[in-house]
């Protein structure tokens, strides 16, 4: 049996110390159950606000700063995410979910503007320029994908110097985050991925992770009555599958191990030299940074501090008994923090640095903090006409009730019926909804925006359901892969109480939804135009033929067509002959 150390490592505990210097970076490694490893990269650069206004940039990237100045943006949060955080096995999210986004791209910003129209115009210029900077489709965040959250997001920075701030929020759940987004992300760093922990970041490994999120946060921070600085934080969090990452790049197909290397359950009656029932390995897997990322760290980024908290660049959170070997030619410093469960290293300058953890049988483990809430959301019903959304939110705590805000931002072609919205807490008839904000969608102009403030009692489950209808679109509005369906942005949950210790807040997000819509037949616009017009012409022709003509007895009119086809042809010939005769006479 493993005995668990009562250890709660919070990013928050190590984070505030970093704010002091102008540039700092930190990598935190943390083994998770099931051969997973959480790697959190964090880069911070500060620029004083006077220097920022004079366009005098040292660590803050000029390209981003000028965009922010142009668009009047005071606080910016940009997220690129992939995959799902498995809270059941991995526990609490890094940064309490505050540095995390929904699947795809998520962007929210506080924009300074006199009125809503100006704010939206600035928002559009912000999304369009960021789209160019990050090679992402951010320019597709238009009015239908933009909402103005009321309760869910709070500014992280100090905004006493600015007035008329407008919060705008947009998501692109369909966006596939990939290498072309990582390259501009690395270019914003002072060491640009050449040295320091950012030298580990490689598109092949980062986007192969089970879960990854890249975040950029620009926040003004003011000291008590003193100078304000603009702080930019770049974060990359990823969960690597250690076995998967250790596969060589030139031979990535998983193959079964030779039978000698598998641990067999010898108690099985069929166990023999060629038959084996594999048992779950009890040892912690061995790995090194070079195994996981394909290369070691290329020495320290020379811009980081030499001493103090900021020098602790690489940290690993393991039980003290875990063996860690350092492979480097340079001089490094090891610091042990938090009763030896956190080992931090100051990187050598100019020479490679690698951590090697051999495979090891452990007697102690780390406690993973339980998340305060867990949430899942899915679509019920079948068919492409209507359905219902069900969100299940669980409060695992046996003592505390949790108050939170639930935000849904739905595309306009998914039409929710808010009168069918029901929220139930298991074992209680009282409505958990305390406050509702709802702004309905307008076709092709605006998406649905729903915010609910709810309270969930201890150890109970809250279920939110509502019906929706699927609209049929014009055939030009479907994407090329229309039958795949449309992505619906994840719901965002922010905890109000228990409140977070810092001003970042505690967030969690559900997964995105896939919404199949009814599709027309894309191949036949001409046929439809022709067939519909034919039916209309039949009705119109039939009726107006009756209205404009006069009835006479059948025997009262001489019939040209008498004698059937023969008579008809004879009549035509007769008519032609008469015409020729007339022409001849004229000439």
């Amino acid at each position: 049996m493993l005995s668990f150390l009562a250890l709660l490592l919070l990013h928050a505990l190590i984070a505030p110390a970093l704010a002091a210097s102008d540039y700092s970076e930190r990598l935190l490694l943390r083994p998770l159950p099931q051969n997973a490893l959480l790697a959190s990269f964090n880069f911070r650069s500060n620029e004083s606000s006077t220097a920022f206004e004079q366009q005098n940039f040292r660590y803050f990237p000029r390209s981003l700063a000028q965009i922010l100045q142009h668009a009047g943006t005071k606080e910016l949060h940009l997220r690129f995410s992939l995959g799902r955080w498995d809270a059941e096995s991995w526990g609490q999210r890094p940064w309490n979910g505050a540095r995390e986004g929904g699947t795809g791209v998520e962007l929210w910003a506080w924009v300074e503007a006199q009125d809503q129209e100006e704010a939206f115009a600035r928002w559009l210029s912000l999304t369009n320029t960021l789209s160019g900077l990050f090679c992402a489709s951010l320019n597709f965040i238009d009015a239908t994908k933009t909402i103005r959250p009321v309760m869910t997001f709070q500014p992280e920075g100090d905004h006493q110097n600015s007035s008329h701030l407008h919060l705008l929020h947009g998501t692109l759940p369909h966006e596939v985050v990939c290498t072309e987004n990582l390259t501009p992300f690395l270019k914003l760093l002072p060491c640009k991925g050449k040295a320091g922990i950012s030298s580990l970041l490689d598109g092949h490994k980062l986007f192969d992770a089970s879960w990854q999120t890249m975040a950029i946060d620009v926040v003004p921070v003011c000291a008590e009555g003193g100078e304000c600085v603009l702080e930019m934080e770049q974060t990359v969090d990823m969960v690597l599958d250690i076995d998967r990452s250790k596969r060589p790049r030139d031979n990535p197909i998983p193959r079964p191990l030779p039978i000698e290397e598998i641990e067999c359950d010898t108690s099985k009656p069929y166990n023999a030299h060629d038959t084996c029932y594999p048992i779950h390995k009890t040892t912690e897997p061995g790995f090194s940074l070079a195994d996981l990322y394909g290369r070691p760290i290329k020495g320290a980024c020379p811009l980081t501090d030499d001493e103090g908290e900021g020098a602790n660049t690489v940290c690993i959170n393991t039980p003290p008994e875990r063996t860690i070997d350092i492979k480097t030619d340079g001089a490094y410093v090891e610091n042990k923090l938090q009763s030896d469960t956190l080992r931090c290293y100051k990187l050598p300058t100019g020479s490679d640095f690698d951590l090697v953890l051999p495979e090891q049988q452990m007697t102690t483990g780390l406690v993973h903090q339980e998340p305060p809430l867990s949430a899942a959301r899915h679509i019920n019903g079948h068919g492409q006409e209507h359905g219902s959304v069900q969100a299940v939110i669980k409060n695992p705590s046996p003592t505390d009730s949790v108050e939170f805000v639930y935000l849904e931002s739905l595309p306009w072609f998914m039409k929710p019926y808010i009168h069918t919205l029901r929220a139930r807490v298991s074992g209680s008839s009282e409505s958990p909804i305390k406050e509702t904000y709802y702004r309905p969608a307008v076709d092709r102009a605006r998406g649905t925006h729903l915010e609910l403030r709810m309270v969930i009692p201890p150890s109970s489950t809250l279920t939110v359901t509502y019906d929706f209808e699927k609209a049929i679109l014009r055939y030009t509005e479907y994407p090329p892969d229309a039958n795949r369906g449309f992505d619906v942005a994840p719901a965002v949950i922010r905890l109000i109480s228990p409140a977070s210790a810092d001003n970042k807040g505690i967030y969690l997000r559900t997964t995105s939804l896939l919404l199949p819509l009814p599709t027309p037949d894309f191949s036949m616009p001409y046929n439809v135009i022709i067939l519909t017009s034919t039916v209309m012409a039949l009705g119109f022709g039939n009726i107006f033929n009756l209205l404009v003509r006069r009835f006479v007895g059948a025997d009262e009119v001489p019939t040209l067509g008498a004698g059937g086809l023969k008579g008809l042809i004879r009549g035509r010939v007769e008519r032609l002959r008469a015409r020729f005769a007339a022409k001849r006479k004229a000439t």
Partner: protein, 422 residues
């Protein structure tokens, strides 16, 4: 049996059928309200409930893409208990709407305007059904019953159209104007019924009073009355909702078709597949097409204004942007008024079998497209084409019969002989 007794029996039976369906199958109204054939975006009861919810929670229902129905329905339905929990009052209201409609239909039959007008008297005027039979064909028409059970608000429009016709055929100007203005206020296109019904009302008034008042003054006063009534209803709506934004959300949606939810009409798939640059052009053409029937029919069939009005409801059931089977139900229950035309109709079998074919295969093909996935949109589209074709055959054929009937009066010597159109 006295006529009153028969009427009571009929109405009792019709109400019993509806209330039985409501109570024996509590999920049936919700199921039918979700059917595209019955509920369109502009008449759906589910959308009305959504609008009602927003209205009672102080969110403007017109600042959204779901509710496209008339504003005055909101205070009316907010007086009733919430239909999700206490549906009985709403069910009773819709049953009463159907019974009132049937009673208006009986008044139309009793006025005799379908066979004998001021300027024309059919040679087959004895061939007609009693008011009870016509009302029964309305009340027990499956399309009417389904519309009532689905609680589609087009039942209200149908009631006011029938009332307008009944009052016009009685020469009651005030109620006629009032009912027609409400019908137009609810669904916009019934305004096209105004000229034929005005003629009908004028004819009846002249016959009754035996003195011909000036037709111009009559038209002027009634038009002013209609404008005033609709203006009053719109101002009241603006007063209730606090702004004029309901105009674009109700009439704007009917005019411009932003919501392409499938229905039994011809517009939705056409505008789904239409190229963007031609959309406005074809919207104009389609509306012009709908409106073009009114002057043509009114002038050509000047002697039979009630027939013109009935035929126009048939045209609405085919060619308006959001038709449903409720519109077809209205037309098909007005057709029995013209029993004397049946012998001269040529394609009754074709029309009846086409409509039955579409009725049975429509839901099946919709299922194949939306749920089973084994068919595509063309399956349902083909059925709507057949349905529209069937209804337009009935409309065209009845016009032929009406004109033939007029010819028999003008030229009795041609009766029973073949005729040609020149």
């Amino acid at each position: 049996m006295a006529i009153d007794q028969q009427k009571a029996l009929l109405f009792g039976a019709a109400a019993a059928v509806r209330l039985l369906l409501f109570t024996a199958f509590p999920s049936l109204p919700t199921l039918l309200a979700g059917r595209v054939e019955v509920s369109t975006p502009v008449t759906s009861f589910k959308r009305l409930q959504e609008g009602l919810f927003l209205y009672t929670h102080n969110v403007s229902p017109y600042d959204g893409g779901v509710y496209h129905q008339a504003p005055l329905l909101l205070p009316l339905f907010s007086l009733l208990p919430n239909p999700s929990y206490y549906p009985f009052a709403t069910n009773l209201l819709f049953t009463a709407v159907d019974l009132l409609g049937a009673s208006a239909l009986m008044q139309i039959v009793e006025s005799g305007q379908s066979v004998t007008t001021r300027l024309f008297s059919s040679s087959r005027k004895d061939m007609r059904w009693s008011s009870i039979a016509v009302a029964a064909s309305f009340l027990f028409n499956p399309f009417t019953v389904v519309t009532c059970v689905a609680r589609s608000t087009s039942a209200l429009t149908n009631l006011f159209i029938l009332t307008a016709m009944a009052k016009a055929s009685q020469g009651a100007s005030f109620t006629f104007i009032f009912a027609l203005s409400i019908a137009s206020y609810l669904s916009m296109h019934p305004i096209l019924l105004f000229p034929p019904l005005l003629l009908l009302c004028y004819d009846v008034r002249v016959t009754k009073t035996k003195s011909s008042s000036s037709p111009l003054a009559f038209t002027f006063y009634h038009t002013m009355g209609l404008v005033d009534a609709i203006g009053g209803l719109l101002s009241l709506s603006a007063f209730l909702t606090g702004s004029w934004e309901f105009l674009s959300a109700t009439y704007g949606v009917r005019l411009l078709l932003p919501d392409l939810t499938p229905n039994v009409g011809l517009w939705w798939y056409f505008f789904t597949e239409m190229f963007d640059s031609f959309r406005e052009f074809f919207l104009g053409v389609f509306w012009l097409h709908v409106a073009s029937y009114m002057p043509g029919l009114t002038i050509r069939l000047r002697k039979q204004p009630l027939f013109v009005a009935a035929t126009l409801t048939g045209i609405f059931a085919v060619f308006t942007p959001y038709p449903s089977i409720a519109d077809a139900a209205l037309y098909l229950s007005l057709v029995p008024l013209f029993r004397h035309l049946f012998p001269m109709m040529r394609y009754t079998f074709l029309a009846a079998s086409t409509i039955l074919y579409a009725t049975f295969l429509g839901p099946a093909f919709y299922y194949l497209w939306i749920y089973a996935g084994s068919g595509n949109a063309n399956f349902f589209y083909a059925i709507t084409l057949v349905w529209s074709l069937g209804l337009s055959v009935v409309v065209g054929d009845s016009i032929y019969a009406a004109l033939r009937d007029e010819l028999d009066v003008e030229r009795p010597e041609l009766r029973g002989k073949d005729v040609k159109r020149i």
